[in-house]
C-alpha cells in the first residue's frame, strides 16, 4: 500500500518498522540484523501455544449461556493485573519517548504537525504494550475462530483498548508530572510510579498480612476485595471489561469505544504540551541545582571514594533506581512481616528473605562490578585493582546487608536458632551472587541492565542455581535442626541444596572471566 509521505499512517508504518527492528535484533540501538534463530524459536513457541489452546478449547467446548459471576470476577482480577502491568510498561515507554528521544529531534525539526507525531508515538506505545499479551492470548482468538467460537475474537479489541488506555494514562501522567514537578524530577518519579504500578497487586496482597495483628492467617487485601465482589450485581459496570473479554458484544463495543475516546482526548488535549514537554526534557540534563558552595572532599581513602562514587552513580540514575526499587518493593513486605507480633511462618520468611536479598545483591553487583562507565580510567590508574574490586564489592553488598540487618537481628532475638540459620543463608546468598558476578560476569553498559541475562547466560545460571540452593537451605535447615524427623526426601533435598550452594562458588571461580 502506498502511503502519502508525511501522513500519520506513513509515520506509523515507520514507527512499527522501528519497533520490529528493535524486537528482532534483541535490544534498542542494536544493529538491524534480525536474530532469525530467536525469531524462529518464538514462532515455534507461538505455534505450540496454538496447539495447546486448540486442545483446551476443544475439550471445553462452546460456552453456553452467561458465565458464572465468580468466573467473571476472576477474569476482572486478571484484567486488572494485566492493566497495571501495561501501565507500568507504558510509563517506561513514555519516559523513554520524552527523555531518551531517539528520533524525536528529527521528527520535531520536520514540518510534520505535532498532532501526527504525538498520535503515532502514542499508537507505537500502545502497540508495544499490547504485543506481549497478544503473543500469549491471540492464540485463543485464532483457535476460537477455527472452532467457530467467535467470542474469543473479542480478545483483540479488548487488549488493544486496554493498551491504548494504559498508553494514554501513562502519557497524561508523565506530562502532568512534567508540568507539576519539572522535567528533571519527572524522570525519576515516573519511573518509580511505573515500578510501583507493576508491583501494586503484590503489595496489596501483602497489605492484609502486614496490617493484621491476629494469630490466625490474615486474609489478603485481594481476598477481601474478591469477597466483596461477590455481592456485586452481574451487570455491574465493574465487570464490563471482563464481560467484554468473554465476548459479550455490547461490552466489547463499550470498552473499545472507551479506549478510542481516551486516545482521541489525549491527543487533542495534550499534543501541544507534548512538544513543550519534549523541549523541557531536552534541557533537563543541563538543569543546575545550586545548593550552596561546592564541597571539596579530597580526604577520603580510595575504598571510600569508590564506594561513594558507585552509590552516587546509581542513585542519580532514575532508570536503575526504578529497576532496583522494584526488587526492594518485593523485599520490604517480607522484612516487615518479621516484626509482626503473631506467629511467624519461619521457613517461608527465611526462604523468601534469602531469595530476595540474593537477587537484590545480584542486581547491585552487576551494576557496580560489571557496568563500569570508565573502565579505561581504572585501567590506566596506578591504583591496585584488588582494592578497587573489593570496594566495589562492598558497595554492592553493603546496602543489602544494611537493609536486612535489623529484621535478621529481630528474628534472631525472637527465635535464636532459625534466626541464626536465616542470617547465614541470607549472607551466603548475598555474597555468593556478588562473587559470581565478580568472577564470571562480563563488562557491560548500564543500559543493558534489564537484558543482562542475555549477555552472560552462564552468570545468570550460576546466580539462579545459587539463589535456589540457598533458599532451599533456608527452608530445610530449620526443620532439620529443629528436631523434625529426617526422611530420605528431606535429607536428599538438604544435601543437594548444600552441595549446589557451596559448590557453585568454586565452579564459578574456576570458570572466571578474564579480561583480554
Amino acid at each position: 500500500m502506498k502511503l502519502r509521505p508525511g501522513s500519520a499512517c506513513w509515520l506509523l508504518r515507520h514507527e512499527l518498522k522501528l519497533f520490529w527492528f528493535r524486537l528482532a535484533s534483541g535490544k534498542a540501538g542494536a544493529p538491524r540484523r534480525p536474530k532469525w534463530r530467536a525469531i524462529g524459536g518464538a514462532l515455534l513457541v507461538w505455534l505450540g501455544l496454538h496447539a495447546l489452546v486448540f486442545a483446551l478449547l476443544h475439550a471445553l467446548g462452546p460456552a453456553a449461556g452467561l458465565p458464572p459471576r465468580q468466573f467473571v470476577a476472576a477474569v476482572t482480577a486478571i484484567l486488572l493485573a494485566t492493566f497495571l502491568f501495561m501501565l507500568s510498561s507504558a510509563l517506561k515507554s513514555s519516559v523513554e519517548t520524552l527523555f531518551d528521544r531517539g528520533d524525536m529531534d528529527l521528527l520535531l525539526s520536520s514540518p510534520l504537525p505535532s498532532r501526527s507525531i504525538f498520535t503515532v508515538k502514542l499508537a507505537g506505545m500502545a502497540f508495544g504494550v499490547a504485543a506481549l499479551y497478544l503473543f500469549f492470548l491471540a492464540p485463543f482468538a485464532h483457535v476460537g475462530l477455527l472452532l467457530g467460537q467467535l467470542r474469543w475474537l473479542a480478545l483483540y479489541p479488548v487488549l488493544f483498548a486496554m493498551a491504548v488506555l494504559a498508553a494514554s494514562a501513562a502519557m497524561l501522567l508523565t506530562l502532568a508530572l512534567v508540568r507539576l514537578l519539572g522535567a528533571r524530577r519527572t524522570r525519576v518519579v515516573a519511573q518509580v510510579v511505573g515500578a510501583l504500578a507493576g508491583a501494586l497487586l503484590f503489595l496489596l496482597s501483602q497489605a492484609g498480612s502486614l496490617l493484621s495483628q491476629g494469630d490466625g492467617p490474615a486474609p489478603t487485601a485481594i481476598a477481601r476485595v474478591m469477597a466483596s465482589v461477590q455481592i456485586l450485581d452481574a451487570g455491574s459496570v465493574l465487570f464490563l471489561p471482563a464481560r467484554a473479554a468473554l465476548g459479550e458484544g455490547r461490552a466489547v463495543a463499550v470498552v473499545a469505544s472507551l479506549g478510542l475516546l481516551a486516545a482521541l482526548l489525549t491527543v487533542y488535549s495534550t499534543h501541544r504540551f507534548f512538544v513543550r514537554g519534549l523541549q523541557l526534557a531536552a534541557g533537563s540534563e543541563r538543569a543546575v541545582r545550586r545548593s550552596g558552595p561546592v564541597r571539596y572532599r579530597f580526604d577520603r581513602s580510595l575504598a571510600q571514594l569508590v564506594i561513594v562514587k558507585e552509590w552516587r552513580l546509581m542513585w542519580r540514575d532514575p532508570h536503575l533506581v526504578s529497576q532496583v526499587l522494584l526488587q526492594l518493593l518485593y523485599l520490604l513486605p517480607l522484612c516487615l512481616i518479621v516484626f509482626r507480633k503473631n506467629a511467624l511462618q519461619l521457613p517461608a520468611i527465611a526462604g523468601g528473605l534469602t531469595m530476595l536479598c540474593g537477587s537484590l545483591s545480584a542486581s547491585l553487583s552487576w551494576i557496580i562490578l560489571l557496568a563500569e562507565d570508565a573502565p579505561d580510567l581504572l585501567q590506566t590508574a596506578p591504583a591496585k585493582a584488588g582494592t578497587v574490586r573489593m570496594a566495589k564489592l562492598a558497595a554492592a553488598v553493603g546496602p543489602v546487608l544494611g537493609l536486612v540487618a535489623l529484621p535478621l537481628l529481630w528474628l534472631t532475638l525472637r527465635a535464636p536458632l532459625p534466626g541464626v540459620l536465616t542470617t547465614a543463608t541470607v549472607c551466603g546468598a548475598i555474597l555468593s551472587t556478588a562473587l559470581i558476578n565478580l568472577w564470571t560476569g562480563r563488562p557491560a553498559a548500564r543500559g543493558e541492565f534489564k537484558n543482562r541475562g542475555q549477555r552472560s547466560v552462564a552468570t545468570r545460571l550460576f546466580e539462579l542455581s545459587s539463589l535456589l540452593a540457598w533458599a532451599g537451605l533456608a527452608l530445610l535447615l530449620p526443620r532439620v535442626l529443629g528436631g523434625a524427623p529426617v526422611g530420605i526426601a528431606l535429607a536428599a533435598g538438604l544435601g543437594a541444596a548444600a552441595t549446589v550452594a557451596l559448590g557453585t562458588l568454586p565452579l564459578a571461580w574456576l570458570l572466571r572471566y578474564r579480561v583480554g
Binding site: E285, R286, A287, V288, R289, R290, S291, V294, R295, Y296, R297, F298, D299, R300, S301, L302, L305, V306, K309, R312, L313, R316, D317, D373, A374, D376, L377, L378, Q379, T380, A381, P382, A383, K384, V388, G516
Partner: protein, 243 residues
C-alpha cells in the same frame, strides 16, 4: 648520568589480525612536546593505548621515564596521564566529584589535590559548572574536565589522543595553553592530531607513522630538508600518500 627519556619504545608490535603497530621504535625526550601524526588506521591510537597500559603489546618494550611498563606498571602509571579522544568520564558525577575520584586513583594527598583541583577548574572555566552533572556538558567541556583529571596528579608524561577534536576556538586555545604551560614547567607532552597546524605550531618534534611504522621524524626544519619550502600538510601528504 644521562636522564632516561620520557618514553622509549623498542620494537613495539601489536596485531589485530593484521599488524596495527609493526616493530615501532620511538624515543621522546623529557620536557619535549612531541606530535605523532598519521592517516586513519596508521596505529597512533594503538601505540598510545599500549603506552597507557590499556593494551598489552605482542612484542617489544615500553619504557616510561626509565621504568619498564611491563615490569612495574603501577610505578609507570603513577607518572603518566592518558587522555583518549573519547573522554573517560562519569556522566552522573559533578566535576569536583570526578576530580576527587581521579585524585584518589592516583593516590594524591588530599591537601595537595584540593588546591590543584580548584586551580584547574578555574583555569578551564569549569568552576561555573560545579553543580552540574557532566552528562549535560558539551563536548568541549567534557574534554576540558578530562584534561583536568589527567593533570590533577601533575604527570611527568602527558599522552593525548586527538585532544582538540570537536573543541571550539576558545576551548582549543585553553587546552593548547595548558599543554604549553605543562611543557614549560618541565613536563612532556605526546599528542596525536589530525589538525596539522596544531602540530606545526606546538610540537618541537613531529613523528609520522604509517602502517604501524615510523616513516619520518624530526623537527619541522629537519622534515623540510627533504622537501624544501613545503608546508607540513604537503610533506605529510607526500609521505603518506599512495606511492
Amino acid at each position: 648520568m644521562l636522564a632516561s627519556p620520557a618514553l622509549a619504545l623498542t620494537g613495539l608490535s601489536k596485531h589485530f589480525g593484521r599488524p596495527a603497530v609493526d616493530g615501532l621504535d620511538l624515543t621522546v625526550a623529557r620536557g619535549e612536546f612531541y606530535a605523532l601524526l598519521g592517516p586513519n588506521g596508521a596505529g597512533k591510537t594503538t601505540t598510545l593505548r599500549m603506552v597507557a597500559g590499556l593494551l598489552a603489546p605482542d612484542a617489544g618494550r615500553i619504557e616510561v621515564l626509565g621504568v619498564d611498563l611491563a615490569a612495574d606498571p603501577a610505578a609507570a602509571k603513577r607518572r603518566i596521564a592518558y587522555l583518549p579522544d573519547d573522554p573517560m568520564l562519569y556522566g552522573k558525577l559533578k566535576p569536583v566529584e570526578y576530580l576527587e575520584f581521579v585524585a584518589g586513583l592516583w593516590g594524591i594527598d588530599g591537601k595537595a589535590a584540593e588546591p590543584r583541583a580548584r586551580e584547574l577548574l578555574a583555569w578551564l572555566d569549569l568552576d561555573k559548572h560545579a553543580h552540574e552533572l557532566t552528562e549535560g556538558f558539551s563536548r568541549g567541556m567534557k574534554q576540558k574536565l578530562a584534561l583536568a583529571g589527567a593533570l590533577i596528579h601533575d604527570p611527568e608524561l602527558l599522552i593525548l589522543d586527538e585532544p582538540l577534536t570537536g573543541l571550539d576556538a576558545g576551548a582549543a586555545r585553553q587546552v593548547k595553553d595548558l599543554l604549553l604551560s605543562h611543557v614549560a614547567r618541565g613536563g612532556t607532552v605526546i599528542l596525536t592530531t589530525h589538525i596539522l597546524e596544531v602540530a606545526e605550531r606546538l610540537a618541537q618534534r613531529i613523528g609520522i607513522i604509517q602502517h604501524g611504522r615510523l616513516i619520518a621524524q624530526g623537527t619541522l626544519d629537519e622534515l623540510r630538508v627533504a622537501t624544501p619550502g613545503a608546508t607540513l600538510e604537503e610533506m605529510f601528504l607526500r609521505l603518506t600518500g599512495p606511492a
